[in-house]
Symmetry: C2
Subunit: 555 residues, 2 copies
C-alpha cells in the first residue's frame, strides 16, 4: 500500500510537470525565431516565394510518398513543434500540389488574394461554430447577410423582401456548407421533402420516409433529370436521398455540351407514363468538364410544365453573374427553385465554402429540425436549416471578398478568365498539331494533340478507322498528360467526353481551367510547346499513328 502511494505520488508529480508544459502549449505563442514562427513570417511576406521554394516540382511516385505516411501507431510521446514542422516541410509541403501556380491550369483551385491569409488566421483564432448563435453571435447575422447578397445576385428581389427574410428565424434564403456536393444534396433534399410534404392525409416524408411516401402517392419511382455532363455529386445525392442512382437520368447533350431540353422533355414524359414522378430537373451552369451552361430558360419552362423542382448547379459558373458582360450566359437562373454556388471556385475563397440558395425562403421549412439544447424553436440558430451541424465561419471570407473586391472586382476577374480562355482556344486553333475539342463558353476548354497528318485523315476516315485512330490518340493524350504532370512545370487535367464530329465517340482530352489571374499568355504558349515536345517521346502511340498515316497515304 505504501509503495502504491509512493508510485502514485511520483505519477502525480510527473503529471503536474507535464500539465505545465501542456498549459504552455495553449498559452505561449510560437517564438518568432522558432521554425514554425519563421515559416509563418515567410508565408506572410512572400507566399509565392514560400510555395516556389518548398513545393518540390520533382515527380515522386505515390508509393514513395506513402512510405512516409504509413505508421499506424499514434506516437506515445510528444514531439517538439520545430521537429514536427521540419518534417512537414520536407515530407508534406514539398510533396503537395502547387494549386496556386499560374502554370497549373488543370483544376478549379486557383491562387488566392493575399488578404485571405491573414483573414483566415482571424477566423481560426476566433474558432466560432455557426451551428448556433451561442457559439457564433455576430457571425450568424453576417452569414445571413452573405446568403442575402448571393440570393440577390441570383434572384434580384427588392429590399423589402430581404428586410423581411434575411434575418427571419423561420425562413432561410439558403445554406452555407462545406462545398457544392453538400449544397446539391441539400437542394434535392429540400425538393424531395417539399414534394412529399405534410398535408391532412400524410405526415410528410421527413417523418415517415421514402417507402411510405411512394406508397401514399402511388408512384413507382422518383427521378431526377440532368445533362450527361452533370456533376457526379448528383448521383451521390440520388443514392443518399433514397431515390437510387438509376433514377438520376442522364440526358443527351448537343454539340456544345448543353443538355437537349427537348430530349429531357421526352424522357420526363416517358417517365411519367411509367408512373415515375419527376422530382427535379437540374440545369448545369458550368459543366465540370467543358464549362458549358445548359439552356436554363428552356429548362425553367420545362420544370414549370412538369410541375417539378428546378435546381441549377452553378457551383462553377455562378460567379459569372458578377460580370455585366457575361451574366446573360446564365439567363434563366433566376427562375431556379434552388442554386448551388461554390465560393472556393470562381470567388477565390479558400477550400470549404459552398452555398445553396433557395428562391422561396419558406422552402427550407421542410428540412427544419430542433433540439432541446440548440436550435430551439424561435431561435435564429442557422443549424436548424442545414445538413451539416457544427461548422466554421467561412462566410466571413466570402463576405470579405465581396466587400474588398466589390462586384466590379469580380467582374474584372471573370472577364479576364473568359478572355484568357478565348485566347488559348485561338492559340490551339492556330497550332496545326492541336485540335480544340470544346470551345470555351466560360473559362474551361478541352483539346488534344493530333499530328497534322492525322487530322487530315480524320476528316475523311470512316467509323472504323476513326475508332482506331482515336484509341491511339487517347493513349497519346494520357501519355502526354502524365508526363507533363510528372515533369512538374505545368499541369493540365484530362477527361473523357463524347465528341459530335466523331459520331459521338468518347475521346480522351486535355482539360484546362483558366481561372488563375496570374496565368499569362506566355505560360499558355509554353504549355502547348511542352506538350508538343512530350508527344515526340511517345514510343507506342505516335509510331502507331505514323504507321496508320503511312498505310493511308499508300492506299
Amino acid at each position: 500500500m505504501i509503495i502504491f502511494i509512493r508510485v502514485k505520488e511520483e505519477i502525480t508529480k510527473v503529471a503536474k510537470a507535464d500539465l505545465q508544459s501542456l498549459h504552455r502549449i495553449f498559452t505561449v505563442p510560437e517564438a518568432p525565431n522558432s521554425t514554425l514562427g519563421r515559416i509563418e513570417r515567410e508565408i506572410s511576406h512572400n507566399l509565392a516565394g514560400f510555395l516556389n521554394e518548398h513545393l518540390v516540382a520533382r515527380a515522386i511516385s505515390l508509393s514513395d510518398i506513402e512510405r512516409d505516411f504509413c505508421d499506424p501507431e499514434i506516437p506515445e510521446n510528444p514531439t517538439f513543434v520545430s521537429e514536427h514542422t521540419s518534417f512537414l516541410l520536407e515530407k508534406l509541403v514539398a510533396q503537395s500540389v502547387h494549386t496556386a501556380a499560374p502554370s497549373f491550369i488543370g483544376h478549379m483551385t486557383s491562387a488566392l488574394p493575399y488578404f485571405m491569409l491573414p483573414l483566415s488566421k482571424i477566423l481560426i483564432a476566433l474558432n466560432q461554430n455557426l451551428v448556433k448563435i451561442e457559439t457564433s453571435k455576430a457571425f450568424t447575422p453576417l452569414e445571413r447577410q452573405v446568403l442575402g447578397m448571393m440570393h440577390g445576385l441570383i434572384y434580384r428581389r427588392d429590399n423589402a423582401f430581404y428586410e423581411k427574410y434575411m434575418h427571419s428565424e423561420s425562413d432561410s434564403l439558403g445554406a452555407f456548407c462545406s462545398g457544392g456536393t453538400v449544397a446539391n444534396i441539400t437542394a434535392l433534399w429540400v425538393a424531395r421533402n417539399n414534394l412529399f410534404k405534410r398535408d391532412k392525409d400524410f405526415p410528410g416524408i421527413s417523418r415517415v420516409g421514402m417507402f411510405k411516401a411512394m406508397q401514399h402517392y402511388g408512384y413507382q419511382g422518383l427521378a431526377i433529370l440532368v445533362s450527361r455532363r452533370g456533376h457526379y455529386s448528383l448521383s451521390k445525392a440520388a443514392d443518399i436521398l433514397g431515390l437510387g442512382r438509376d433514377e438520376l437520368i442522364a440526358v443527351e447533350v448537343d454539340e456544345n455540351h448543353k443538355v437537349k431540353a427537348d430530349e429531357m422533355r421526352r424522357q420526363a414524359q416517358q417517365l411519367e407514363k411509367q408512373n415515375i414522378k419527376v422530382l427535379a430537373i437540374v440545369g448545369v451552369a458550368g459543366t465540370t468538364e467543358t464549362g458549358n451552361v445548359d439552356p436554363l430558360d428552356e429548362l425553367a419552362d420545362l420544370a414549370k410544365e412538369l410541375g417539378c423542382h428546378f435546381h441549377v448547379d452553378a457551383a462553377w459558373g455562378g460567379a459569372t453573374l458578377f460580370s455585366e458582360t457575361h451574366k446573360s450566359l446564365l439567363n434563366g437562373i433566376e427562375r431556379a427553385d434552388s442554386v448551388t454556388i461554390d465560393a472556393h471556385k470562381q470567388m477565390y475563397v479558400p477550400m470549404g465554402a459552398g452555398m445553396v440558395l433557395f428562391k422561396t425562403p419558406e422552402m427550407a421549412t421542410e428540412i427544419e429540425h430542433h433540439a432541446e439544447y440548440v436550435l430551439r424553436k424561435g431561435s435564429k440558430d442557422l443549424g436548424s436549416h442545414t445538413l451539416e451541424g457544427s461548422r466554421p465561419g467561412m462566410a466571413m471570407l466570402v463576405y470579405s471578398a465581396l466587400k474588398i473586391l466589390g462586384r466590379q472586382g469580380y467582374q474584372l476577374l471573370i472577364d479576364r478568365s473568359l478572355q484568357q480562355a478565348r485566347y488559348f482556344a485561338g492559340l490551339i486553333d492556330n497550332a496545326s498539331q492541336f485540335e480544340l475539342i470544346s470551345r470555351p463558353e466560360l473559362c474551361i476548354l478541352t483539346y488534344r494533340f493530333v499530328p497534322t497528318e492525322v487530322q487530315n485523315i480524320l476528316k475523311h476516315a470512316d467509323t472504323e478507322l476513326t475508332t482506331e485512330i482515336n484509341q491511339y490518340l487517347d493513349d497519346l493524350t494520357r501519355f502526354i498528360q502524365k508526363r507533363q504532370r510528372e515533369a512538374g512545370k505545368s499541369f493540365v487535367s484530362r477527361t473523357r467526353i463524347n465528341v459530335k464530329k466523331y459520331q459521338g465517340q468518347i475521346v480522351t482530352v486535355f482539360r484546362v481551367v483558366l481561372a488563375n489571374p496570374l496565368t499569362t499568355q506566355e505560360i499558355l504558349n509554353d504549355v502547348l510547346c511542352e506538350q508538343a515536345k512530350l508527344a515526340k517521346q511517345s514510343e507506342i502511340s505516335l509510331p502507331q499513328l505514323k504507321r496508320i498515316v503511312a498505310d493511308y497515304t499508300a492506299v
Copy 2:
C-alpha cells in the same frame, strides 16, 4: 461605330489599370504596418491578449448586431483592405463569442493549442483539395495515415492489417468530413447500403433506392434505435436517408442517462414483429447534454443478436480512448461497425474536422462512386468514398496534434478535464443552494440553482407540488443563464432533461463542459458565486418559490 470603338478603348484602358490592381491583390502581401498586417502580428504574438482586447463582453442585442449586417446589396466598388479590416474588428470580431475563454464553459469549443494557428496558415496557403490526388498529393497519404491511426485507437488491429488496408485504393478505413453530423450520416448511409447491397436477385439500394429495396425485401419499415439522449443529427440522417424521422426510435435511459439495453431489445423485437427491419442501433459515447456513455458492450451483444449494424457516436467522447486511466469507460466501442469522432471537440483542432471510422475496410464499397475526370477506378482519390466532394486538408491539423501532443499529451488533457468535472461536481454538492442533476462520467455535468429551503421541500413534495416548484425553478434557471450570458464574464449553457428522482419530469438545467485546459478551480468557484448572486435578482420566480416555502412551512 467610331464612338463605340472609342468607348470600348476607354473601358479597356480602365480595365487594364484595374487588372493591375487586381494582380496586386493576388501577388503583393499585406504590408506589415497595414491594419491587417498588424492584427496578424498581434494574433501571432499574443492571441489571448488579442481576443481579450477585441471581443467585447458587453451584451448587445441580436437585433442591434443585425443592423450592421442587413444590406443585401453586393457593393459595386472595391473597399480598401484596411477599411474593411477596421469594420470587421469593430462589428464582427467585437461581437463574436470568446470560445477560448476559460470562463466560457457552456459549449464544446475550447482554447486551441498555439501551434494550430501557424499550421492553419500553412494549410490555407497550400489550399489543397482532398477529393483527389491531383489536387492534394502527399495530403492524401497523410489523411489515410490519420484514419489508420484513429482506426487503430479504436480497433487495435495489427500492423499487417494496416499495411494491407491503409493505402488500399479499393478499401477505406474511414472518411474525413466537416463534422460529426456528416460522419453520422455517412455511417448510416454505409449501413443502409450494406443491408440492401447488390446480390444476384437485387441490383442494390444504391442503384434502385429505398422503395424498391423495401419492396424486394418485403419490409414495412426500416428503423434505427438510439438513446433518447442521441444527437439530433441522427434524426436528420433518418430523414435524409429516406427512413423518416419517426423511424429513429428514442429509447429510455436509466438514472445515469445511459440507454437501457433491455428496453432497446424489447423495442427492437417489437419492431421486427411489425416487420420493421432494424437497420442499426446506435450507442452514444458522450451524450451532448450529460456526457454519459451507453453500455457499449451490451449494445454490441444486442446488435449481434439482431444482426444489425452497430454505430457508436463518439463525436464527443472518442478522445477518451487516449487515456489509459479512463478508456475503459468506452469498452465495447471496438465492436462497433462504425464510429464517429470529432477532432474539433476533445482533440483541440479548429472547427471543421470530423471523422467516421469503419471496422471493416470493405464496408465503404457500397457507397463508392466514380467519374470520368476524377475518382477513376483504381485511383487512390479519397473522394470515391466520402459524402462530401471538394474539401480542405484538415487531416494535417489532426496529424500534427497527434504528433506534437502524442498519446500521453492527450491523456493528460483528458484526465485533467475529467478531474475538473469531478471537482466542480464536488463544489456543487457542497454548495447548499445548488443541486447536481447529472454527475460527470466524462467532463460534462448538469446542475441548477435551488434555494436550500426549496431543496428541503422537494425531498417530501408530492408530484403536483414538485411540478409546480420545478416550473418556477425552470424559469429561474433560464433567468440566471441568460443574465450570466449577457453579463459576458462567463457562460454556461442550458438544456432540458428528464430527472429520475422527480419521477422523470423534464427540468431545465445548467450544462457545463470542462474541456478547456485553461479553466481553473477559481473560475469554477466564481461561476457559482455569480449564479447565486444573479438568482437574487429574479423578480418573479424567486418570490414565487419563497411563497411556496412560506405556504408549505405554514401548513
